[in-house]
């Protein structure tokens, strides 16, 4: 049984249906990449999984439990098991790096303080920011903020990590440091759903690529299948355009 199975998920913004029945699944330790043109609904898929955008239909099975996000209990359960990293980092501006990492583990998960702080230090070491532990986010570069955001999500010990274009707000010279941090997670066997425009990176780390357009999945397969021998015209167009750049 897959770790996360999304079946026929639909979502609307007002009267505009932005997810028109999305289905994909992910095994433990796998990395699935969502790719597609701007506005195709990639972010909305991640937001729906986190209960930030309500779904109007479909099912989500997470670790054997069915979640329809219809009750606050189910939304909490989803948020308890998954963590998201946003494109714009969204670090809490009023808190230091350490406080950002420890807030939810201490106050929501109610884990032991000593363990939470030790884990936070380990994660900051993992993303190479041990010296920034007491910094506020306005004292950090974009790349550093994004690595803190990554560490903050990991501090929740999520079963699945959702990454929404975590490098696209960064200056090109800062992209590498964030991708390196994600590579380490991949090597550790973290289960991830990644939205990314970095096709080279996707090809390198993803086990499965899901190509979306206009709220639908057009094609899914291994990176080699999609990049080298796409079956649909839309995927062919998209990849030949994006890989040329």
């Amino acid at each position: 049984m897959p770790h996360l199975a999304v079946s026929d998920v639909r979502a609307k913004y007002g009267s505009l249906e932005v997810l028109k029945g999305i289905s994909f699944s992910i095994e433990k330790g796998e990395i699935v990449a969502l790719v597609g043109p701007s506005g195709s609904g990639k972010s909305t898929v991640l937001r729906a999984l986190m209960g930030l955008t309500p779904i109007t239909g479909g099912d989500v099975d997470l670790a054997g439990e069915r979640l329809n996000y219809s009750s606050s209990r189910e939304v909490r359960a989803a948020r308890d098991r998954m963590a998201i990293v946003f494109q714009q980092y969204n670090l809490f501006q009023n808190m230091t790096v350490m406080q950002n990492l420890t807030l939810a583990p201490l106050k929501i998960k109610r884990w032991d303080r000593a363990e939470v702080e030790a884990e936070a230090r380990r994660l900051l070491g993992l993303v190479g920011l041990s010296d920034k532990i007491d910094a506020y986010s306005d004292q950090l570069s974009g790349g550093q903020q994004q690595r803190v955001a990554l560490a903050r999500a990991l501090a929740l010990k999520p079963q699945i990590l959702l990454l929404d274009e975590v490098t696209s707000a960064l200056d090109p010279e800062l992209v590498g440091e964030v991708l390196d941090a994600i590579r380490k997670l991949a090597a550790e066997g973290m289960t991830m759903v990644i939205v990314s425009h970095e096709m080279g990176f996707v090809r390198e780390v993803a086990d499965k690529v899901v190509f979306m357009d206009a709220g639908q999945i057009i094609e899914a397969g291994t990176p080699a299948e999609l990049f080298d021998t796409p079956k649909t015209d839309r995927a062919q167009n998209f990849f030949s355009n994006i890989l040329r750049h």
Binding site: M50, G51, L52, R76, R79, D80, A83, I84, F86, Q88, N90, L91, F92, Q93, N94, L103, A104, K107, I108, A135, Y136, D138, Q139, L156
Partner: protein
């Protein structure tokens, strides 16, 4: 002028000064008490007003109506309403209590909008990041939104309290022994109006000026980025 000079020594005598000092403290006390309680209640009101869901619609309506109505009533009318309402409920309520309640009711309506504006100035993405970690609405407000909203809330809230110090003169109408009331009294005792109300004016200035300075100080401090605020504190011996 001669009359003023002649009256001055007698006017600035011990009993009169004590009287003025006491009434100044009364003015300050009821303003601060009313505004602080009102400020606290305004937070509750704003929080209730933000309750999501259809079932909370009546609640939201009540909150909105309260703010919109009280902002449109002259303060003096609020005072009389409170006076007559409280007196029918508990005839022996003190005038000070009545004044504080009136100030409080008025302050809730005004500061609620200041607070709401402050909370709304915090980017929605901060709220989403908190929600995604399962923080409740109250936790999100207290730990994430409010700390970031202070710089937007504090300056106008203090400005409101400062300007309200003078508006409390209106409660002299119902006989609270605050500054203006004492002024009228002293004037009736035969002291020159210019002398009396010149002194009263100066008292109002003395009451509100330090509060204005405090407001300016807080405004500057809150406008400093957190990182720098911190290093500055450490550098100081």
């Amino acid at each position: 002028m001669e009359r003023i000079l002649e009256q001055a020594p007698r006017f600035f005598s011990g009993p009169n000064l004590t009287l003025l000092f006491e009434s100044a403290m009364l003015t300050l006390g009821m303003t601060l008490a009313g505004c602080l309680i009102g400020f606290g209640l305004a937070f509750v009101l704003v929080f209730l007003r933000q309750t999501p869901g259809l079932w909370a619609l009546p609640l939201r309506l009540v909150c909105i109506t309260y703010v919109e109505v009280f902002r449109r009533i002259p303060f003096i009318v609020v005072i009389y309403l409170v006076l007559f309402f409280i007196q029918t409920v508990t005839p022996d309520a003190s005038l000070f209590t009545i004044a504080v309640i009136a100030i409080c009711l008025y302050a809730v309506a005004y500061t609620a909008d200041i607070i709401r504006g402050g909370l709304e100035s915090v980017p929605a993405t901060q709220v989403e990041a908190a929600q995604a970690m399962n923080l409740s609405r109250l936790q999100t407000n207290l730990r994430i939104v409010l700390p970031q909203a202070w710089p937007v809330i504090v300056p106008p809230a203090i400005a409101f309290a400062v300007s309200f110090i003078k508006d409390t003169a209106l409660v002299s109408q119902v006989g609270v022994f605050e500054l203006t009331f004492r002024g009228k009294e002293l004037n009736n005792q035969g002291y020159s109006g210019i002398l009396v109300f010149g002194t009263i004016a100066f008292c109002y200035f003395l009451l509100s000026f330090p509060l204005s300075l405090l407001g300016q100080h807080l405004e500057k401090r809150l406008a400093t980025p957190r990182g720098e605020r911190r290093t500055r504190k450490i550098r100081q011996p």
